[in-house]
Structure formats: structure tokens, C-alpha cells
């Protein structure tokens, strides 16, 4: 049986356009409408599935569960979701879970009450099989973080490969004493970055020292990055480079280096992750891995829409491209060993 996606492909338009037309949700040009109706006829498309979705209690609301809204990383994803939702004729509403599992559940209960047609979760812990109770009944998509063994469609970058890129770059510069500011959280991204860090050291025959690995707060706060960098810089011999799993942590680390009377990057190289605005607010501008946050948000909304429209083929995983951006906070170590 043909789906709305088939109709869209045949007519050479987006699924959103077909949806808009069939639901009278916005302006579609007469030429486009004609093409869509021709495709519907050719494929014998029956908009029953859609009709079923458009049942009386459909809300046309997409719910976003976010642990935190101060982090600019999330803000860009939220913008992407919001824009994609608007294009698709949905309103995106954000529920701030304050990183509290009870509130995550409270948010998901709204699906049962038909307050939303589907949900996008940000920052799920790896151990999130309990979500299947909802995913089996309602459209759910995970963005950035997910459970590696939990079958819920998700969008992210390849965190392992991105970390390997960072480590190749640092080792290529000549760094041998590379420290890592990780996080206490239980996110897949944190785990894959730690693994990438360790594997890279091992493959280059470098020792992985436990005292070069430190765990910042769950939410990657500036304060925590600053405090943890201070601890790392007190270790003997002092690391020549610090790889932080977020830009906010890197900003904290740079501040700690400076306050200890050292220079970035001449004395200590610092590298971040995400590429939020903070990276280019102050010198040294931060070398980092850029995540396409806005696009990740849009892609999450698109996957969710495909689930809501009951399309046959919804990818279980959508990996977007990262990019290493070299700026001013990294250089070869002063003393090459």
C-alpha cells in the first residue's frame, strides 16, 4: 500500500506539502496540488492511515523533553525542532524535565492524555529500556543521547569517530600527556568519547593514566569545568593538553589555566566539543568539534513525523556529520618529549 511519502516522491514535493494539502493547513499552489492529486490517483493512495491519525483527539503538538534549557547546545536543537514542526503544521512544546526521571515520566504521560501526538527526548540515559513502554504505543524519537540496545529511532553524530578525530589531531601536534574531562552522567556520548580517548591512546602506545581522567558535573557546568581542570593541572607530570567533552567545560578549563598563571595554548592546549557560541566569545577562540545541532533538531522532527504518519521505513538511526574546527586554544606542546 502506498504511503504519503510515496505520494510525495511521485509528485516531487515534500511530505509536509502533501500533508498540508490534505489537511488544509496552509497554502499550496494549484500546480502543486494537481501534481499531488495525480500522484494519489496513480499510486491508489488511500489517506486512511492519515485519517486514523487525524482522529478527534489528535493534538498536532510535538512534545520535547529537555533536561535543561540553559545549555546553548540544547537551545539550537530546540530551534531546529520548532522550525521543522512549524513547517509540518505542528506546534512544538518544550517540557523542562530538570534532569529528573519523575518529570520525564510526567511528560510522557501527556501522550496518554492526547496532549501531544509524539515526543522527542533529549539526554536519555543509556539505561532507558523503560521508555519502550511508551515507544511501543506512541511515536518517540531520541536526539543526541540514546540507549545503544533500545530500539527507538535516534539522531546523533558519531561520537566515537569525532573523538578519534580529536585525539589524532592532538597526538599529531605532538601531545603525549593528554587529560580528559568527562562527566558523571550516564549518556552514550560520554561513554563513547571516553572509549575513543582510551582507544586512541592505546593504539598510539601511550599510557592511559587514571589520574588524567576526571568527571565533571552531569550538566557540564562552567564552574565544574574550572574546578576539575584545576585538579588535573595539579597532577605531576602536568598534562600538556586537556580534551573536554563540552565547550562550556573547556571554557571553565581555560579560565582555570589562566588563573593559575599559565597560558592557553602555549602551556596547556584545551579542546572542547559541540561548537556553541561561547567558543568564539573570548580569546583564545576554542578548537572544538562542531555538531550540526539545528539540523539534528530538524532531523528528529522529521523522524518523528514519519513515525506519526506510520510510514513503512523509518530509520532507526540517523547519524549526521561532525566537523573538527581548529581555532586558537590548541598548539604543539612547548616541550616535545
Amino acid at each position: 500500500m502506498a504511503t504519503m511519502a510515496d505520494v510525495a516522491r511521485e509528485a516531487g514535493v515534500s511530505v509536509a506539502t502533501v500533508s498540508r494539502l490534505l489537511n488544509n493547513l496552509g497554502v499550496v499552489s494549484p500546480e502543486t496540488a494537481a501534481r499531488v492529486y495525480a500522484a494519489i490517483e496513480k499510486l491508489s493512495y488511500e489517506p486512511n492511515l492519515l485519517a486514523r491519525n487525524l482522529r478527534k483527539n489528535e493534538s498536532r503538538v510535538i512534545l520535547i523533553l529537555s533536561p535543561n534549557i540553559t545549555n546553548p547546545y540544547y537551545a539550537h536543537i530546540l530551534s531546529g525542532i520548532g522550525d521543522a514542526a512549524a513547517e509540518l503544521g505542528y506546534s512544538a512544546l518544550i517540557f523542562n524535565t530538570a534532569d529528573d526521571p519523575a518529570r520525564v515520566r510526567e511528560g510522557l504521560e501527556m501522550l496518554k492524555k492526547h496532549r501531544a501526538d509524539g515526543a522527542i527526548l533529549m539526554a536519555s540515559d543509556m539505561n532507558c529500556a523503560w521508555l519502550l513502554e511508551y515507544a511501543d504505543e506512541y511515536p518517540l524519537v531520541q536526539c543526541s543521547e540514546y540507549g545503544p540496545d533500545v530500539d527507538i529511532p535516534h539522531v546523533s553524530i558519531d561520537n566515537y569517530r569525532a573523538t578519534r578525530d580529536i585525539m589524532e589531531y592532538l597526538i599529531g601536534l605532538g601531545h603525549r600527556r593528554i587529560a580528559h574531562i568527562s562527566s558523571e552522567n550516564d549518556y552514550i556520548s560520554t561513554s563513547l568519547r571516553l572509549k575513543g580517548y582510551r582507544d586512541a591512546l592505546a593504539e598510539h602506545g601511550l599510557t592511559s593514566r587514571d589520574d588524567y581522567i576526571i568527571y565533571a558535573s552531569r550538566d557540564y557546568s562552567f564552574k565544574s569545568g574550572k574546578a576539575k581542570a584545576r585538579e588535573l593541572l595539579a597532577v605531576e607530570p602536568r598534562p600538556t593538553a586537556i580534551f573536554c567533552i563540552s565547550d562550556t567545560l573547556a571554557l571553565g578549563a581555560i579560565t582555570a589555566v589562566k588563573e593559575m598563571g599559565l597560558r592557553v595554548p602555549q602551556d596547556v592546549t584545551v579542546i572542547g566539543f559541540d561548537d556553541v557560541e561561547h567558543t568564539t566569545m573570548f580569546h583564545p577562540y576554542i578548537t572544538t568539534v562542531a555538531q550540526p545541532c539545528y539540523e539534528m533538531g530538524k532531523e528528529s522532527a522529521r523522524l518523528l513525523y514519519a513515525l506519526m504518519m506510520q510510514e513503512k521505513q523509518v530509520p532507526r538511526q540517523s547519524i549526521l556529520e561532525h566537523r573538527l574546527i581548529v581555532r586558537e586554544s590548541t598548539s604543539p606542546p612547548a616541550e616535545l618529549e
Copy 2:
């Protein structure tokens, strides 16, 4: 007729507690319950109003319309609303309007569809009488920004008095050439701060120079603060102090001063507004006026709740206290005129 607030006062508990008890929404101790029931009897309270509100299509959702979620100023308000809503047995959902009036209206339409029981608006333009079309029918509260002549309950600080405090402080330090980075937006806070700036100069017999007033982007971006400060610093004679209407603008201004080879505060004093985390991330820590953002969020939710419960006396205006916080970015001018 007694209201739920009367019952709460009589029983010496919060309105939220009475609501929780009557709606079986959470744990209330037997002692407290006894006190509340005694108060209900004494005051002959009839929870009819409440019952009317608990009609079948009540959503128990509070909608928040926010123009922007990257600004930490909003993030703290949103947290306050979220926490207060949770205490009252409501879920707070954030709708990102992206500063687009069409999206504000889209959000408000959710009230008509009973997707939310009431809404809190952040960052309304002064010219917002069109909101009355909704406020007449649904509970609405404005937070931070409001229309001075529009009768919708609102929560804010006293922006005029806060600006006068800033100006007294700067003039007291000896500054005579004080510039002002305002914004292109049409918010009451922007207007009152500009008025406070001008009135203070006039009362001290100082000339208000048009080329000392400049307008940054609507959303107070760092980039815009930096660019506008560069323009101000090129004016002859150069201002000795810059009063910025947001901390993010102040951060941009400090960066501009530094990049021009000048020092803060020795060569140029910079003062911000809001007291977000950015103020103490880098030296010089920023002198600013603190707004009690989290409390403003809570107070907004409380006012909205009072409207939703149809309490008799809902304040039309709730003004919370600001506080001038002197840090490192301000000092007397080098050359006293």
C-alpha cells in the same frame, strides 16, 4: 463567598496545599488535612469554582510563550515557572515563539483548543492591546515585559528605579560622559531604562548626547554588544562609562574595549543588567543589577494560578526587588573632569 485563598490563609497553609488536597494530587499530612477541612467548614467554602475549573477538558497545562530560549535570563524565569507549576500540580510547557508575532498567536490559540488552562507571556511588546482578545477569555499573565496601558496582570522589577540606581552609582563615581547601549526592541523595560538614563543626566545637569545612545539587536546578542560598543568608543570625546541594558551586551562591550587595546574599568567602565552567570565567568566580573528571575517565574505562575482559580483579588502588577551588585567592571574615571 470564601475563596480557596481564604481557606489557605485560615488553615495557615499554601493555596497549593489546599488544591492538592481537594484534587487528590499529592500527599498532604493528616494534620494539615484536618486544618484545611476545619477552615472549609468555618468559612463555608464551596469548592464550586474549583469544580467548574476541573471540567472535563481541563488540561492542567500552563503554557509559556518565550521569544528565545538561549538567553540565560529567560532560562531562570522558565525554571521558576516550571517549579511553581509542578508544586501546583500543573505541567509547564514552553512554546518558542522565535520572536514572531504569528507564532505568539499560534501559541495562544492552544488556549481555545483547551491544550492549556492559561498562559504566561514573556517579552510582549509595549503595544500589545491585541492580547486582550485572549485575556478577556483565558487566564494570561505577563512576565518581565508588558503593555503599560494594557490590563493584564504582570510581574517585573521596577526598571526605572533600577536604572536610576545605576546612574546614581556611575555619577557618584565621577563619570560625566556616560553612554548607553539600548536595544531596537519595543519592550517596556528598554523604554523605562532609556528614560531613567535621560532623567538622571538631566537632573544632574549633564548633557544627554544622541551619539552616546546606541541601539543593539532586539535579542541583546553578544555580537551586537561588541559592534555597538566599538561605535560608541569611536565617538569624540570618548565616553568613560557604558551602561548596557543586558549582561550579554556588557560582555560584548568589554570584549570590544579590550580588543581596542583599552582596559576595563581603568579606561572604560562597563555596567550590565540582569545578573546572569556570564557576569562572573571572566575577569573583570561585571557590575550589574540583579533581577530575581527565578522568583519572577514563580510569582508569574502564582498569579496565573490565582486567575485560573478565579480568586477575587488578583494583583494587576507584582513588582519584585532588584539589587545593584558592584563587581570589577566599574571604577571612577581615570581623568576626573
